[in-house]
Symmetry: C2
Subunit: 511 residues, 2 copies
């Protein structure tokens, strides 16, 4: 992972000239951003963890586990702020080793932050604590532990990266079908701990729907859940660990539902006159089928800027572009395409053929690379997301847009606010906003104000504070309001029961 940025250091993105011009003309970007400082020049606070067997407190290890990948994370690193660096890094190889480490850290008062791909965008890797901090890097627990072709399940270690897990399954004729934007780096354990949702989740299901069993190590012992795909044996404790963000335990194995590798993957583009017509068409497919594998709709602004296909940034269009994908046998895909095509036409859609679909698929993991280029160029760019029921979507959309625009205009940096519907369900959908504006004097405060306004707007309109990024530390106040005092009390009670010394990712998730 690139230090201070995203992805493969050899694959940095370059902005098209049209985009650079637009930054100046439309957003008033006048000067480049702070460059990423050399890691070697970083002045680290001394490590407070010594003599913990197997712990690595070298500067390289510590810096490689500094923060996640939100824009504020990257801005702080660009500003030379490495104060959130962990004191040391441990790389356990087994569940038993994690159990032992947690026991020792409990006794010694060391905070433990489980670390998968390091891709959190909500402050999930920056605990709030006076304790020394150990990053628990799960990279060595990356095996395919069990494979059951009859039940179509596979059990992975938490550190298995998504591409590696996908490859191991593909070799056996199967797929997990989980492709979030963080795919190239994110891990199976991280997906589970954050309730990840992927670009093909309309077809394969969200990650929390794919998990059939889990094992976790807590400071008070091991918990194993999932003896059957579904059960009526009390509250579903899998659902208490899914989304627990390292605050209740360290997930040490994950059993997921898998499917045969699809014979055919077909992605195509459609265009609708406006966002309302496009969302109505999506709702029709989500409620009455045929069920798409990929279904995304960019609003007028995102379509105009061309971000509906990140690889084609700057080549925008009018209306609202929709990406529709089907995966499966050739016959299934053909039948669904035909039925979906009839429906979308009847609802005002015009087909754009496969080019936009393929461009989207080609660029599907590239947006985070663009962010680094935009930050270099002097633009602030960040995303946020929410979900709600269909009948609330129009108000939620307007309220969030308005809150962001108003706040940033008031601060003197008028933004572009782009949005797409990223995930659909029969009862509702998620909205994913991308915000771009000129970097201000104090970009951390600048974004903080916009994010706060957006979060207030989400809460007031009745949306959930996050549909797939997670809570971390960034969403805590709105999360607490969302689940209310009884929900907070229940979470705190579980936390106290499984982590009495409060060593697990302190300050994250639990309000």
């Amino acid at each position: 992972m690139r230090w201070g940025g995203w992805g493969d250091p050899d694959r940095t993105a370059t902005l098209p000239e049209s985009v650079t011009a637009l930054l100046g003309s439309a957003l008033g970007v006048e000067r480049p951003g702070q460059p990423i400082p050399d890691a070697a020049s970083a002045k680290l606070p001394p490590s407070r963890i010594t003599e913990l067997p197997g712990a690595d407190s070298s500067a390289g290890a510590r810096l490689a586990h500094l923060r996640g990948k939100s824009t504020p994370d990257l801005l702080k690193i660009r500003a030379g702020d490495v104060s959130a660096v962990p004191d040391a890094v441990a790389r356990p190889e087994s569940h038993e080793e994690v159990v032992a480490l947690l026991a020792e850290c409990g006794q010694r008062g060391i905070a433990v932050v489980p670390f998968g791909g390091g891709t959190s965008v909500v402050g999930g890797l920056t605990p709030e604590t006076g304790k020394p901090v150990l990053a628990l890097d799960l990279a060595r627990m990356d095996q395919l532990i069990a494979f059951d072709s009859e039940s179509r399940t596979a059990t992975f270690g938490p550190g298995a990266r998504a591409p590696q897990a996908e490859k191991l399954l593909n070799q056996r004729g199967y797929t997990l079908g989980h492709f979030p934007q963080s795919f190239e780096y994110a891990t199976i354990g991280g997906f589970a701990a954050t309730r990840s949702s992927g670009q093909a989740s309309a077809g394969y299901g969200r990650f929390d729907e794919l998990v059939v069993a889990l094992r976790a190590a807590t400071p008070t012992g091991t918990i194993e859940t999932g003896r059957a795909p579904r059960s009526a044996a009390g509250p579903d404790l899998r659902q208490l660990l899914l989304g627990s963000e390292g605050a209740f335990g360290v997930i040490t194995s994950v059993t997921v539902a898998i499917r045969p590798v699809p014979e055919v993957k077909h992605y195509e583009g459609w265009t609708f006159e406006d966002f309302a017509a496009g969302t109505a068409a999506m709702r029709s497919l989500a409620q009455d089928g045929p069920q798409a594998t990929v279904l995304r709709l960019s609003d007028e602004f995102e379509t105009a800027i061309g971000l509906s296909r990140p690889g084609k940034l700057g080549h925008g269009a009018g209306g609202c572009q929709l990406i529709l994908g089907f995966e499966g046998t050739a016959a299934e895909v053909e039948a669904k395409r035909a039925a979906a095509g009839d429906r979308l036409r009847a609802l005002g859609g015009e087909p754009l053929g496969t080019e936009p679909g393929e461009a989207w698929a080609h660029g599907r993991f590239s947006a985070p690379y663009l962010r680094d280029a935009l930050l270099d160029a002097g633009a602030l760019v960040e995303t946020l997301e929410t979900a709600t029921f269909w009948s609330t979507i129009p108000d939620l959309y307007e309220a969030v847009r308005e809150a962001i625009v108003d706040t940033l205009v008031e601060g003197g940096t008028p933004p572009m606010v782009l949005c797409h519907v990223s995930h659909t369900y029969p009862a509702g959908a998620s909205l994913y906003f991308t915000v771009v504006c000129a970097l201000g004097e104090n970009p951390i405060e600048q974004w903080d104000a916009a994010k706060k306004a957006a979060s207030e707007a989400i809460a007031s309109a009745g949306g959930t504070i996050t549909h797939h990024h997670g809570v971390g530390r960034d969403h805590l106040p709105w999360y607490a309001a969302e689940i209310g005092p009884v929900g907070v009390a229940a979470l705190r009670a579980v936390k106290q029961a499984v982590d009495p010394d409060g060593i697990l990712n302190p300050g994250v998730l639990i309000p």
Copy 2:
């Protein structure tokens, strides 16, 4: 509800002569069972609840809330044991009234048992406590509170009975599609509190999958969950209330996903040579589609006795009978029928036409009526169920059968053990066992021994202790083992946080 038995008192079942003969010849049933005593003759312990506003401590009200509907429940009533009768019954009309009642009961040390349809078969209505017990009958909170056709959701009061909820939705062109065997009496709140699964759950989803939002009253306040169909905002607290069986709070409203009333409902029968061939065929449909709305497979024993179609008991057949149902538009149903037919034929299935399907649909809610007739005739009959992954199904099936047969043979009452696969998922399925034998000297102990042996077999084979009946008090020891000490500690912590005085259904759910 019939006193001491099941259902509409005017609709009691009569056993076919062939069955009565079989009870004698095959099971050694020699004398009739104890009849249900006259309710008026019951000697109730004096009520310990006085001067609670609105509480009804009349004998009639108390007896109408005595126990659930497990066979041991009915046997105790037949034996004249009314010791578990609640002290009084309250019938609140609003969330606020429930909140106030819980506060008052907390202060006065009164245990509160939420009561929906009274159909628990796992001891969920017989708390273990020294406190006076108030049955909180939710029948008056039975309204359709909200209806959102755009999001396809409906919000019901917890006391809405399933037929009433279904009727209210049908009038608007929609269906909930939830048809458990308890359909005629069970309530929306009860479905949520017990993670109910219905006969059409293959198509519509389990009840826990249909719930998008919940409101509950706890002694410490109100909790509301569900701002979106799905969220990444921490652990899914809906899933903590679903299956909480009244131990964490009183569910006061439930928002469910609904669908248009299907144009066509088509049910048909198939036969397979044996259980292995039948389950392999079910697995194929569950994993690769077409997704059925109803999919059930009776084993050789259940098929032979004719219980695959409760209305046709005694008219058995060879092989294993499968019921396959599709609901939807005429075109969808036709396409799925054709595709499923090809698949089942290729996997060794032989079509039996629509007669078995229609016979099953006609008798789908009648089995509990048969039980009363069997108990009258001197036969013990009870059911139990589990679920696991496909690869574990054969061992689990054998182990449970053997455990039940061995125990009852040893006790001198050789049983018939019938089984069907009642619910299927891509990763696994549930097994539903029906046990019939002659009533022994002490039928409570007789069944208890068989149930213990079956539960041990389920646990050893790796199944879950319940797929859709719930935990109640009957499953507590195996449930505790299933979730382990960390799971138990987490549940107890939540219980303590939301119900510090321990008034909510004490002794139920929490090990």
